[in-house]
C-alpha cells in the first residue's frame, strides 16, 4: 500500500497546472468559481483551447487524436481543471458518442465525425430519455422505419425525446430509436446519428425550477435520416447504449469539483458571521462541514482505488455506481451547506446577475446570490445519469446478489 503519487505523476501535475494557469480564460473561470451560468461560447472557447493543445480527449487513443493518458493522469487532469475553475467538457461528444463510434462505428463515420468532435465543429446531445422511458430506458418508443426512395435508403423517425441537455446548442443528436417491436424491449432498438437541422425536428425548452434553460424536449415529425447514419447493426442499439452509459459514468465522483466547492463553502463560513463571529467558529456549523469533508476525503480515495484498478481494457464495473451515489450526495450537501452559510442571503433570486446581465447582485452579496439556484439545480444530480435508486439496484444485482 502506498497512497502517494509518484514522481512522474507529480511532474505531469505541474505541467498541466501551468498550462491551465496560462490558458484558461479569466472571464469563464470567474463564472465557474462564482456559480454563474455559462453560455455556448464559454464552453466552446475552452474546448478549442484544449483541442489546439491536443488535450481535448484525454482517454482517446493517439490514432484518433486523443492524448492517451493513463487513468491516473486523467484523474490528475480532472483535479487540476476543476481546481482552477475550468468548464467541464460537454461530455456528449468526447466522452459518449466518440467512444461508441470508435468501438462500433464504420470507417466512414469515424473519419467524418471524430475530428469534428475534437474540434467542436459538432456539438452533440444525447437523445435517450423519453416521457415514458426514464429509468426504464428500454421501453422507448420513438420509431424509425427503414424506407427506400429516389434518394436511397433512409429512416423515417417519429416520436419524442425529453430532458435533452443543451439541445438548443446542438448540431447533432445521437438517438435510441425503435426499429422493431416484435421481441423483448431491449431488442429492436437502433442507434442513429441525426443532424439537428433536419426538417421535422422541433426543440422546445424545458425551464427547470431554478429558471434555467438547460434541458429540452425534442420532437421528431417524419424526420428523414440517411441510412448511413445508423451506428453498427440495426436492432443492436441497446448494446451500444449500454457501452455508452458505462462511459457516461466515468468521472461521476466529481472529486475535483467538490474539493473546489468545499473551499468556497469554507470561505463563506469565514466571512458570514453569526453574533459577530465567523460561522465556521460555530460548533454546530463546523460539525457539518467536518463530516462532509471526511466523506469527501473517503470518496477521493475510493475513487482513486477504482481509477488505479482501471487497466483500460475492461469495462468500468458496478463500483462506479457507488461513486455516482456518494459523488452526487457530496455535491448536493455542499450546495445545501452553502445556502445555510449565508442565512437570509439565500433568499434573493437574481437571474440577471446569474446570466451576466448585471455585474453585481442586487443585494451586493455576489458570493451568495447564485447559491440557492445552484442548490435547486443540483437536485438533478441524483436523478440523471441513472438515478441513485437505480444505482443501488445495480449494486444489489451486480455485487450483493440479494
Amino acid at each position: 500500500m502506498n497512497l502517494e503519487y509518484d514522481a512522474d505523476d507529480l511532474a505531469f501535475r505541474a505541467k498541466v497546472r501551468s498550462f491551465i494557469e496560462e490558458n484558461l480564460p479569466c472571464d469563464v473561470q470567474a463564472k465557474i468559481l462564482n456559480h454563474k451560468r455559462l453560455n455556448r461560447q464559454d464552453y466552446k472557447t475552452w474546448h478549442q483551447i484544449l483541442h489546439k493543445q491536443g488535450w481535448i480527449a484525454p482517454a482517446w487513443p493517439v490514432e484518433y487524436g486523443g492524448a492517451a493518458w493513463s487513468p491516473v493522469q486523467r484523474h490528475i487532469w480532472e483535479e487540476e481543471t476543476t481546481r482552477a475553475g475550468a468548464p467541464n467538457i460537454i461530455s456528449f461528444g468526447v466522452n459518449m458518442i466518440g467512444p461508441v463510434l470508435m468501438e462500433f462505428g464504420n470507417e466512414a463515420q469515424k473519419k467524418y465525425y471524430l475530428p469534428r468532435i475534437l474540434s467542436c465543429e459538432d456539438w452533440w446531445c444525447q437523445g435517450y430519455s423519453e416521457p415514458g422511458a426514464g429509468s426504464d430506458l428500454a421501453s422507448l418508443k420513438t420509431a424509425a422505419k427503414r424506407v427506400q426512395d429516389a434518394d436511397g435508403h433512409h429512416f423515417i423517425v417519429n416520436g419524442q425525446k425529453t430532458w435533452t441537455t443543451l439541445a438548443q446548442h446542438a448540431d447533432m443528436i445521437f438517438c435510441l430509436v425503435r426499429t422493431d417491436n416484435s421481441g423483448r424491449k431491449q431488442q429492436g432498438i437502433s442507434f442513429l446519428l441525426i443532424d439537428m437541422k433536419t426538417p421535422g425536428i422541433t426543440v422546445r425548452p424545458i425551464i427547470t425550477l431554478d429558471e434555467d434553460h438547460e434541458v429540452n424536449e425534442v420532437f421528431f415529425d417524419n424526420v428523414k435520416v440517411p441510412a448511413e447514419n445508423l451506428v453498427g447493426e440495426e436492432h443492436m442499439g441497446w448494446t451500444y447504449a449500454k457501452y455508452l452509459l458505462s462511459h457516461e459514468r466515468s468521472n461521476v465522483a466529481e472529486v475535483g469539483r467538490s474539493k473546489r466547492e468545499l473551499r468556497f463553502l469554507k470561505k463563506l463560513a469565514m466571512s458570514y458571521t453569526s453574533d459577530g463571529k465567523p460561522l465556521l467558529d460555530d460548533p454546530l456549523f463546523a460539525r457539518k462541514v467536518a463530516i462532509l469533508e471526511a466523506e469527501l476525503m473517503a470518496l477521493e480515495i475510493t475513487n482513486l482505488r477504482v481509477v488505479s484498478a482501471d487497466d483500460g481494457k475492461s469495462e468500468p464495473g458496478p463500483e462506479v455506481s457507488m461513486l455516482k451515489i456518494v459523488g452526487t450526495e457530496v455535491q448536493q450537501r455542499l450546495t445545501e451547506l452553502m445556502v445555510q452559510a449565508v442565512g437570509p442571503y439565500g433568499l434573493p433570486f437574481d437571474t440577471d446577475f446569474l446570466e451576466g446581465g448585471r455585474e453585481h447582485a442586487v443585494t451586493g452579496h455576489d458570493d451568495a446570490a447564485p447559491l440557492t439556484a445552484s442548490y435547486l439545480n443540483f437536485r438533478k444530480a441524483s436523478i440523471y445519469g441513472g438515478s441513485n435508486e437505480v444505482q443501488k439496484n445495480i449494486i444489489n444485482r451486480m455485487i450483493l446478489g440479494l
Partner: protein, 380 residues
Amino acid sequence: MDFNLTQEQTQLSDTLRRWTEKEYDFETRREIIASHEGVSQKAWSGLADLGLMALPVPEALDGFGASGPDMFVVMQALGKGLVIEPYLATVCGIEYLKHDADKFTDLLQKAATGEVRFACALGEAQSRFNRADVAMTAKADGAGYILNGRKTVVIHGAQADHLIVSARTANGTRERDGISLFVVPANADGVSRSDYRTIDGMRAADIDFANVRVSDDALIGAAGEAWPLIDAVSDYARALICAEAVGIMQAVYETTLEYLKARRQFEQPIGAFQALQHRMAEMFVEVEQARSMAMLAASIAGSNNPEKRRHTVSAAMIRVGQAANRVGEEAIQLHGGIGMTNEMQVAHHFKRLTAFGAIYGDIDHHIARFTQQPGFRKIG
C-alpha cells in the same frame, strides 16, 4: 384536550381552499410573480373580503381576535395554495401594533379591512437570525427621532404601506436593551427601497433610511424596551410559518403519493417498488411529526410565559425545519426529472419549503436557542 378543528375553522379552511383553487391557480400565480408589483391587489382584496386581515385584529377594533389555532388553519391553506401575497408580513405588523393598540387604533382598523399592508424591517446585513443585532440608530430629536441605517432582505418590504422598523436608541449592537420599534410610512422622506424577487416566488427589499424623521407617535411601546415584543412576535411568526409549512408538506405528500401510483416504469407503477414505498412511508411520518409540532406551536404562540413559548417554538422550528428539508428533497427525487421542472407545482412547493428558516432562524439557530433555555437543564 381536543385536536379537532371547530366548525368555524373547518369552514374557514374549506373557503380558503376553494378560493385558492378558483382565484389563485398556477397560471394566475405565475403572472403575479412576473408582474412589476410582484403581488396582486385583486387577490389582496379577495382575501380581505374573506375576512383574513380582520382575523388577527382585536374584536374591539373591528377584528375577529383570532386564536393561534385559527391562524394555523389559515396559514396551512395559504401554504397549500402557494399564496405569495404579503399576508404574513401584514399579520406580524398587526401583532406589533396590537401591543400599543390605543395608540394605533386607526392603523389597526385600516389593517382589518386590508387598506394597509405592513412589512417588518428587522434584519440587517450582519444580523443573520439575531433580531437583537441592530446597528440602525434612532436619535431622539425634539418631539421625535431621526432614523439612520439599512435593513436587508425585508420580506415584502417594497409592497408595504408602513414599515415596522427596529432601531437602537441606546447601547451596543447586540444588546437586547436599547432597541426601539417604530412605524414608518414607506413613502417617508429618506426611505429608499430596492425590491427583488426571492427564490420562493415572493419579494423582498433592502431598505435604506437616511435621516428619516418620525414623531413620538411612531414609537411602539416604550423607547429602548422593544426586545421582549420582538421576541414574542417573532415566535408568533414562527408558529405561523410552521403551520404554512405543514400545509405545503401535506400537499407535497399527496402529490407525490399520487405520482407514485400513476407513473409507470418497468411495466408497473413506481410505487410498487419497495425502495420507494419505504421512502413514501418516511415522508408520511415526517409530515405527521411536523404537524404535531406545528399544532403545539400554534397553541402556545400567544402564551404569556416567554420561556415556555421559546422552548416550544424553537422545538417546532427544529422539527418542522427538518421535515421541510426532507419532504421537499424527497418529493423532487421521487418525481424524477419531471420534479425538476418549473411547470410542476411540486417544484414551487419545494422552493417555498427551501425558504423555511431563512428569515426566522434555521435549525442550528433554534438548536442553540432551545438549549439555552433554562428549562433544558432542569431534569424533572
